[in-house]
Structure formats: structure tokens, C-alpha cells
Amino acid sequence: MLLGQALVWTATGTLHFSELPSLRLPATDTSYFNLALVGLNLVIALGMLLLRPWAWMAAMTVQGTSLGAGLWAYYLGSPDFLLMGTSVLVVLYLNLHEVRRPFGVEDLRLRWNAGQEEPDELL
């Protein structure tokens, strides 16, 4: 799915980071920026093929960034529903029990705190 998403982003150029007024990156060429993100997605996809926990977390982060950008664009009146839809699907897929288990990320706190017990829930 990540590879597919990377292809979609490359083909359509729908990553709106550089087009959002408040997130405008004046010194960055849009195509290079997009290319960098697509590259990042490919690295993450490779990590996911090797079942690396960091790859799962990085994939979630990228999707979160994409969702944030999509929602912000929607708020400003220039929505990209394809971007939002694919990101929602990827996030829900990554969050399935069956997907989290092989990555060893069933308990995020234990995974990234070397087994230390934590105080109660954050929220």
C-alpha cells in the first residue's frame, strides 16, 4: 500500500505541503520536495518489508503528516480527498492487530522504553 501510495503521489503530485499558504517553502522546489518524500516512503516501505518496528512508526508518522496537511488544506478550502482517503486507509491498515503484531509494536510504551513500566495512561 505504501508503494502504491508513493506511486500515486509521484504521478499526481498531490502532496500539498508546498501549496499550502501557511506552509509555503519558498526555497524548495516542489518537485524535489515531493521526490524526497516519495523516496522516504520507499525507504519506509523497504523497512516494512523487513518488519522493522521503526518502519511501522515512521509509516504512521508520514501518514499523520499527510493527514494533517490534507485536513489543513480542507480547512483552507482546497481539499485533496484522494490524499486523505488513501492515508486513512493506510493508517487503519497499519493499526490492525494482525499488522502490529509482526512488527512487535503491540505495546508502544514497552517497545520504546526498554521494558520500563510507566505511570498510567497519558490521557
Partner: protein, 605 residues
């Protein structure tokens, strides 16, 4: 009960009486109720009226208060220990010389829980202003009065009760404290005058009639159920000889099995419905949609206020093996403990009861009889657990019964099969050429019933055989002395926090202490400055959560939470924007699925 029974009971109580280890800084220890009563008034509180003194101090005695019938007075009967709380100056003087100075709170409770729990704590504190609340300075005044009681009767007292059931002899040790200063002095949930706590030891008897200790159950914060008891061979139940060790919570006096600091969660009744709704959504999210991980925070998450119960056991110790022995009294010989239905301290009509004094060992606050009184074994869900001496005979009896059931099922199955065969023959004959379709329908109906009966009986036989096999295995294990896991009955036992959970930087503690109030202050400011604009609110909240996650080393969990929130928001946006397309797609999908299923069924024929 005659005097020889009483003496025998007292000997039994003495043999297994607990040792209680208190926290440093504890001000109140178990006291003689006769001495306590001398320092109290008995009052009647009718709704909408000022309380009336029925028996002024020092005339309150056990006999006098036991004679007061709640029904006659039609109001709340209660004692009052403190009639004049200390003023500010007296309070300062008290704190300058009291044992409280020995108490060290360690990591603050705010640093041990999440942001929502801290925000709810603000609500809880505010609720104290509108609920009934024990006035400030009462705890200190009670401590001074308690010191006077100790001068009169220095020995700590327990009131013992022995109840014999079919399988167990239950020894109940009731301890009375003049005051619960959990909120005032130990940052806890509540304060109230008078505090009853109870420890139970359950005995069985061997063939010679000698008592065998089987279980111990400690009451903690009005709890009941299997989590309150430990089997005698459970390592968590610490003992000095035959005496269980109890670690009492500072101020609350709740009994714990292990020393340490416990997080106690107080539910807010008003939020119960919301909490149930959240639990339902979480359940659907996890089971139907198969989303999320396995961490406790993701599974549970309660809307409650957290407090710390300090039960370190580093203070005074009372009981066997210490320098301070118990003075044992039989509870049944104390008229007030058996018959007085009122409260053992101040009544404030608190809607959630936390600040009202408790009733005695026999009664609940509402006048009903306590479960621990009328069903001492069932109170800790021990009814279905046979004692050691009856475990093997009970299992063998059940095994015999199951084998008999299985044996009886054989002929029944044979008869049912004969009946099914007979009906099958009839149906076949009728299908071949009966003029009466009604008769065929009737026979087919009876045949279906007969087939169902055979299936049900065979299923029952299979289950019975499996159960008998399991019980047989258990009997063999029991004969070899293997009683199984002593903690198998525990569902969610209280466990103290681990030292690793309590290592927090001073900065993190400070943040935890101020963040909830600061968040509310900043939200107020942002509302004024930005006129409740959405983005500043979101950024502010995200910044708070980020700092919070840094201090608690949970950045990964925070990122995951934010991503899931964004995904659900985006999903809601998509559903809003494309609702009719989604509805059409669902209808088309449903139609296609139904068509496909029906076509498959058609082609199979």
C-alpha cells in the same frame, strides 16, 4: 455464646491475629471504642434541620448508643468527635510538633497519572466545595483528642468475631480508628471521623479438629470479592509465624498485602455513563474493527481521579512479634458494635458518601447489614472454594456424579436413536406413497425432533466426559499435593507501583503538579485573545501533550494517538463530503454481494 465458647474463640483469634505495619507519620492507631465514645456526642440529623444532641459527652457509652433505634428517630444518627476544629494558628502549632513531619510523600500523585486524571482531579477538588466536607482543622483536632485517648488506654485494640460455616471458620479482626485523615494529611480522597477496617483469616480443620489456616482477606476501601483474599501459601501473604502481616495505608488505614505505594482510583458517579459509552466504543474499535495494540492504556482508560495510598510499612508496628501487643476483645460482647445502627462520626450528607463517617461492623451507612457480617465467607467469594480437607472429597464426589450422569446418558441416547430410526422408517414409507401429506408432515416434524434429541444428548455426553476427565486430572494432582496456582482466583489485584515507575525528574514532577491548572489558565487566556479560534487551541493542546509525553517517555504513544485522531477526523470529513456516494456505494456493494451469493447458491443446485 457461653463463657467457655468465648474463651475458645479468643484463643483462636489470638493464635492468628495479624501484625499491622503502619506508615511513618501515621497519627491514628486502633483504639478502644469505649474510650472513643467518652470523647463524642451522639447526634440526630434530620434533613433540613440543625443536628440535635441526643447524648452529650462524656455520657455516650456502648449501652447508651446501642439502645438508640434509627427507626424511632427517623433521621441520621451519628457520633461527633470534633465539635471545634483548630484555627489557623493552632493548626500551625500542631503541624510544627506532630508525627506528620516524618512522612515523605515521594513522587507526587500528579506525576503518576495522566493529564485527564489531573484535570478530573481539579473537578473533584471543586466538588468538595459544594458537597459536604469535613472542615479544615478537624483532622488535627481529632489527632489531639486521640492523644488524650491513648493516655487513658494506651493499648491498641481489636474486636474479634468467630463465625463457623459448613466448610470454614472465619476469624474477623475489626479495627477502629478515631479518624481517617487520608485527604488532610496524605493527599488522599477523603476525610471522615471514625474508621472501621477489617482483616479476615479463614480456617479449616483437620481430622483431629486442629485448625488449618487456608486464606486471609484484607478489606481495602470498601472493596469485596476474590481480589481481597490470598491463599495461605501465596508468597504475597507475608507472615510472622502464623500471623499475617498487614500494611496499612497512611490515613486511609486500608489493608494491603505488600508494602509499597498504591494508586487508588475514585470513580466520579456523574461520569459513569460517559465512561460506559467510551468503553463500548473502545470495545467495537478493538473487537469488530480489530484496531489498536495490547497496552493497558489502549485497552482500559478510565475517567477517574487517582490518589496514592502509602502503605510502606516503615512506621510503627503493632501485634505479634512487635513491642506493642494487641488487646483482644470479642466483638459479640460489644453492644454498640452489634446493635448501634448509626454512624461512628460526623455526618455531612455527602452525596458520594466519602466524607461521611462509616457505620459499625454490622451495618452499612444506609442501615442495611454488611455482607461481611451476614456472609463472612461469601464476602470474599470463598463460598465455592472448598477447604484443603474437603477439596479432594468434593472433587471425587463431583467426579462420581459426572460418571453416573455419563452412564445414565448411554441408555437415553440408545432409546432416542431407536425412536429416530423408527420415525425414519415411517417417513420413508409415507414418502413412498401415502395419501395423507398431513401425516407425512407430522412424522417429519417428530423425526426432526428425535434427531435433535440424539444430537443434544450426544453433545451432553461429550461435555460430561470432558469435564469428568478434567476433574479426574485435578483429583490426581490434589492427591500429589499440588493445589495449583495460589493466585488463580485473582482478577485485578491491587499491586504497588514499582520503584522504576517512581523515578521521575524533579522537573517532571513540577510540570505534573502545575500542568492541569496551567492548561486551564492558558485556555482561558487564548479564548480571550483569539476569540476561541480553533487553531490556537489545537496547537496549545498538542504542545501540552508533547511536553507531557516527553516527561513520561511516551512520544511514540503520543504520535500514534495524534495520527489516529487525524485519521478519524479525516474519515469523518470524507463521510460528510461524500455521504451520498458512500451510501450509493454501500447499496451497490450490498446488492452485488446478495446477487453473487444467490447466484452461487443457484449454480450449486
Amino acid at each position: 455464646m457461653n463463657s467457655s465458647d468465648g474463651h475458645a474463640d479468643l484463643v483462636l483469634l489470638r493464635r492468628f491475629e495479624p501484625q499491622i505495619r503502619f506508615n511513618r507519620g501515621e497519627l491514628f492507631y486502633p483504639v478502644d471504642v469505649d474510650v472513643f465514645l467518652i470523647h463524642t456526642d451522639l447526634l440526630l440529623h434530620r434533613r433540613g434541620e440543625d443536628p440535635t444532641v441526643l447524648i452529650p459527652r462524656p455520657h455516650a457509652t456502648q449501652e447508651a448508643i446501642a439502645g438508640c433505634d434509627k427507626d424511632i428517630y427517623a433521621g441520621a444518627l451519628h457520633l461527633r468527635l470534633v465539635d471545634r476544629p483548630l484555627n489557623t494558628l493552632q493548626l500551625v502549632q500542631f503541624h510544627a510538633r506532630s508525627d506528620l513531619r516524618e512522612f515523605r510523600k515521594g513522587v507526587t500523585r500528579h506525576a503518576r497519572v495522566g493529564l485527564v486524571a489531573r484535570l478530573l482531579d481539579v473537578v473533584f477538588r471543586i466538588s468538595l466545595l459544594v458537597r459536604g466536607r469535613v472542615p479544615g482543622g478537624t483532622a488535627a483536632a481529632a489527632a489531639i483528642t486521640y492523644e488524650a485517648m491513648r493516655e487513658t488506654a494506651p493499648s491498641p485494640v481489636y474486636y474479634g468475631r468467630v463465625e463457623r460455616t459448613h466448610d470454614y471458620t472465619s476469624l474477623q479482626y475489626w479495627f477502629f480508628y478515631a479518624y481517617n485523615d487520608y485527604r488532610s494529611h496524605f493527599h488522599g480522597a477523603n476525610d471522615h471521623e471514625g474508621d472501621w477496617e477489617m482483616v479476615s483469616v479463614f480456617l479449616s480443620h483437620n481430622e483431629g479438629g486442629a485448625p488449618i489456616p487456608e486464606w486471609a482477606a484484607f478489606a481495602a476501601h470498601d472493596g469485596k470479592g476474590a481480589d481481597l483474599r490470598r491463599r495461605w501459601d501465596d508468597p504475597e501473604l507475608r507472615k510472622v509465624g502464623e500471623h499475617p502481616i498487614v500494611y496499612a495505608g497512611a490515613g486511609s488505614h486500608a489493608a494491603h498485602f505488600s508494602p509499597g505505594e498504591y494508586i487508588i482510583r475514585a470513580r466520579i458517579p456523574l461520569l459513569a455513563r460517559l465512561e460506559r459509552a467510551i468503553a463500548t466504543v473502545k470495545s467495537v474499535w478493538r473487537t469488530a474493527l480489530r484496531q489498536g495494540g495490547t497496552s493497558r492504556a489502549e485497552r482500559d482508560g478510565h475517567l477517574d481521579v487517582a490518589f496514592v495510598d502509602y502503605a510502606r510499612g516503615d512506621g510503627r508496628c503493632i501485634g505479634p512479634g512487635t513491642e506493642i501487643p494487641w488487646e483482644a476483645r470479642l466483638l459479640d460482647e460489644q453492644p454498640a458494635l452489634v446493635h448501634y445502627p448509626g454512624l461512628w462520626g460526623r455526618y455531612l450528607d455527602d452525596p458520594i458518601r466519602g466524607e461521611d463517617a462509616p457505620a459499625g461492623p454490622r451495618f452499612n451507612r444506609d442501615g442495611s447489614v454488611r455482607t461481611a457480617w451476614y456472609d463472612p465467607v461469601g464476602w470474599s467469594e470463598l463460598t465455592a472454594e472448598p477447604s484443603t480437607s474437603r477439596e479432594i472429597p468434593a472433587a471425587q464426589a463431583e467426579l462420581t456424579r459426572l460418571n453416573e450422569e455419563a452412564a445414565a446418558l448411554g441408555p437415553r441416547i440408545a432409546r432416542a436413536e431407536d425412536e429416530a430410526t423408527r420415525l425414519g422408517v415411517r417417513v420413508a414409507a409415507l414418502r413412498d406413497g401415502s395419501p395423507s401429506s398431513r401425516h407425512l408432515d407430522e412424522c417429519e416434524g417428530r423425526l426432526a425432533e428425535a434427531r435433535e434429541t440424539v444430537s443434544r444428548l450426544r453433545h451432553s455426553l461429550s461435555e460430561t466426559e470432558l469435564l469428568a476427565r478434567s476433574i479426574g486430572t485435578r483429583v490426581e494432582r490434589l492427591k500429589q499435593g499440588d493445589r495449583g496456582d495460589p493466585r488463580a482466583h485473582l482478577r485485578r489485584p491491587d499491586v504497588p507501583q514499582q520503584p522504576s515507575q517512581l523515578r521521575l525528574h524533579r522537573l517532571a514532577e513540577t510540570w505534573s503538579a502545575i500542568s492541569a491548572g496551567l492548561l486551564l489558565l492558558v485556555i482561558g487566556t487564548v479564548t480571550i485573545v483569539y476569540h476561541a479560534a480553533l487553531l490556537p487551541f489545537l496547537l496549545l493542546f498538542a504542545a501540552f501533550l508533547f511536553v507531557e509525553s516527553l516527561f513520561h517517555r511516551r512520544v511514540a504513544a503520543l504520535v500514534h494517538g495524534i495520527v489516529m485522531t487525524l485519521a478519524l477526523t479525516a474519515l469523518a470529513v470524507l463521510a460528510y463530503e461524500f455521504w451520498w456516494q458512500i451510501a450509493v456505494a454501500l447499496a451497490l456493494g450490498l446488492g452485488a454481494a446478495i446477487t453473487w451469493t444467490n447466484l452461487r447458491e443457484l449454480t450449486r443446485r
